[in-house]
């Protein structure tokens, strides 16, 4: 009986491991291929290169002439980091109001916030673009960053509101006895206790801004302002000659920041995902 169970467990493990390997194979193949000589990439289904070269990286990095991937990385980092700062600051302010404070219309505003979370951004795409166009902000990072400083990512407000509601109210009361008011309470009690939710917000904001394509392709038109994702797109332009080696090399580099975050913050990431989907 016991032996039987063990065998079943092992079979299950092998099946699951097999699925995991099949699923990750394309990714590993891309990373492996980025180190293969261009001419061998399509002939070789293996992951580990038989001939190792860094030529694809060299070619890819300088592929677009005057502007290189150094610029694109700088731009992507600038946008992502400011987005993180904006979201952490303003979403936590709103979440504190929704999670802790009493005021007229709170319920209505909260529901409005939930609706904006579901609303496809296409509803506001054209007018937003015309605003920013008239202000002369197309081809700047402002349209990408400003919304984060106005708490436009309702998802994170929601996430933090749920988190703040879970903080025991006794702590507030004790702090108020000690002379805190509604404002200092936020900085002395809520923010420090909120740090897991703030970390989750920071991680997801960074990754989403890093991977963003839709807003960037609309607002960033000149190659000096291109981000990594926009630069990668130029590889698939019908006009350009496809160079898969360079393409894979730059694709691999583009996902490194995400993979680094994943390695260091795996626990927070996975908890964040579980939290976001359960507390519906």
């Amino acid at each position: 009986m016991k032996k039987h169970k063990k065998i079943r467990r092992n079979i299950r493990f092998i099946i699951i491991l097999g699925i995991a390997l099949i699923i990750l194979y394309p990714l590993f193949w891309m990373i492996g291929s980025s180190f293969k000589p261009e001419s061998t990439i399509f002939k070789d289904l293996g992951i580990i290169p038989k001939q190792f070269t860094l030529e694809n990286y060299n070619k890819g990095w300088y592929s677009s002439g005057m502007v290189t991937f150094t610029t694109y990385f700088k731009n992507s980092f600038t946008i992502s980091i400011f987005s993180v700062i904006g979201n952490i600051m303003t979403c936590s302010l709103a979440a504190y109001a929704f999670g802790r404070l009493e005021f007229k219309g709170k319920k209505i505003f909260f529901n409005i916030m939930l609706v904006t979370m579901m609303l496809p951004q296409h509803a506001i795409l054209v007018p937003q673009f015309t605003y920013f166009y008239q202000l002369g902000w197309v081809n700047t990072f402002i349209p990408l960053i400003l919304p984060k400083f106005l708490a436009a990512d309702a998802f994170f407000i929601y996430l933090m509101t749920q988190f703040i509601r879970g903080i025991p109210r006794e702590l507030d009361e004790a702090a108020i006895m000690d002379g805190c008011n509604r404002y200092s309470l936020f900085f002395h009690i809520i923010i420090p206790l909120c740090s897991p939710a703030l970390v989750t917000t920071a991680i997801f904001t960074f990754m989403w801004s890093w991977n963003d394509f839709f807003t960037q392709i609309i607002y960033l038109r000149e190659s000096l302002m291109y981000t990594v994702t926009l630069a990668l797109r130029t590889f698939v332009d019908p006009a350009s000659i496809s160079n898969y080696g360079a393409m894979f090399a730059m694709s691999t580099i583009s996902i490194i920041p995400i993979l680094i975050i994943f390695v260091f913050f795996q626990k927070q990431l996975i908890e964040g995902v579980a939290m976001s989907g359960i507390k519906g």
């Binding site: 109001a97 506001i124 393409m247 894979f248 976001s276 989907g277």
Partner: protein
């Protein structure tokens, strides 16, 4: 003074959100509705044309029908498949396996990277005429099948994107794993005493208990699937593929508004899109209050 400030604290803390909501959401929505009744190309003033855009969309726009068909097909095939796969794997993983956290992490990586341009580029390669799928197919003897360019053939193109979405089952799987863990052991033990098999336990007890979470995630995935853009843009080279086979709705809005500069028309398309997504969202929430099992 202090007391008064305390009373208005809620509004003070919501100030950035208020400004954002009015300037970046509410007013643009109203303007967008107005634009949808105009001819507008950004350079000259919008010209009011009444219902002309909507009439054209519903009576003589073949691209609209194609875009809607492709998108709906994609959404309603990929999301159920993705969630079913993630649910099955969650139940298998829940029984405990060596290296569980590593496996869970491995399954999550596709969700982490799936929406990126890098993965879309990889997908273009995998399903291209010279791609690794065809290399593998011809290696195992399916030489005829290996002649197909999966991403440019109109019959198969949308399937490459469906596969891409199903591939990203890791994040719902993590949610379902956490949901299974929340089911009290006592409930499961009680049913085991009653002699229910493992399969019966899952179908009759665990899934009904998880139904609020299942439905919530179904809705969220539907909404996110409707909005797919990056993959469609990259895999079709921005053009929507042969015979509109990859003309996803968002891509069509983008091409009309920012490619052809028909911003009034694009606004009308956007509003129809918002209504469609809104109908699915509210429908699902209605259903949830009727069929869902609350404990």
């Amino acid at each position: 003074m202090n007391r008064k400030l305390n009373r208005y604290a809620g509004y003070v803390f919501l100030l950035p959100w208020f400004v954002g909501f009015f300037l970046l959401t509410l007013i643009p929505m109203i303007i967008s509705l107005y634009y949808s009744f105009t001819n507008f190309n950004l350079l000259s003033e919008p010209k009011f044309v009444g219902l002309k855009n909507y009439i054209q969309i519903f009576t003589s726009d073949q691209h609209f029908i194609n875009a809607l068909t492709v998108t709906i097909k994609y959404v309603f095939i990929s999301v159920p498949l993705q969630l079913l796969g993630s649910l099955i794997l969650a139940f298998i993983l829940n029984k405990g396996l060596p290296g569980l956290s590593l496996l869970r992490a491995a399954f999550y990586i596709p969700s982490l990277l799936g929406g990126s341009v890098a993965i879309s580029i990889l997908w273009r390669q995998i399903f291209g005429l010279e791609g690794i799928l065809n290399k593998a197919l011809s290696a195992i003897g399916f030489v005829d099948l290996a002649q197909i360019s999966w991403m440019s053939n109109p019959d198969t193109a949308v399937w490459t994107l469906i596969i891409l979405r199903v591939w990203q089952f890791g994040s719902p799987m993590i949610i379902f794993l956490a949901a299974i863990k929340q089911i009290p052991d006592s409930v499961i033990e009680a049913s085991a005493i009653d002699g229910a098999s493992r399969f019966k336990q899952i179908i009759k007890i665990m899934i009904p208990l998880m139904s609020p979470i299942l439905l919530f995630n179904f809705v969220m995935q539907i909404i996110s699937a409707f909005k797919v853009f990056t993959e469609a843009y990259i895999i079709s080279g921005g053009k929507g593929g042969i015979m509109d086979s990859l003309l996803f709705y968002t891509l069509y809005i983008y091409n009309e508004g920012f490619g052809n500069m028909r911003m009034g028309y694009a606004s009308a398309l956007s509003w129809i899109f918002v209504l469609i997504v809104g109908i699915f969202t509210s429908l699902a929430f209605k259903l949830s209050s009727r069929y869902i099992h609350y404990n």
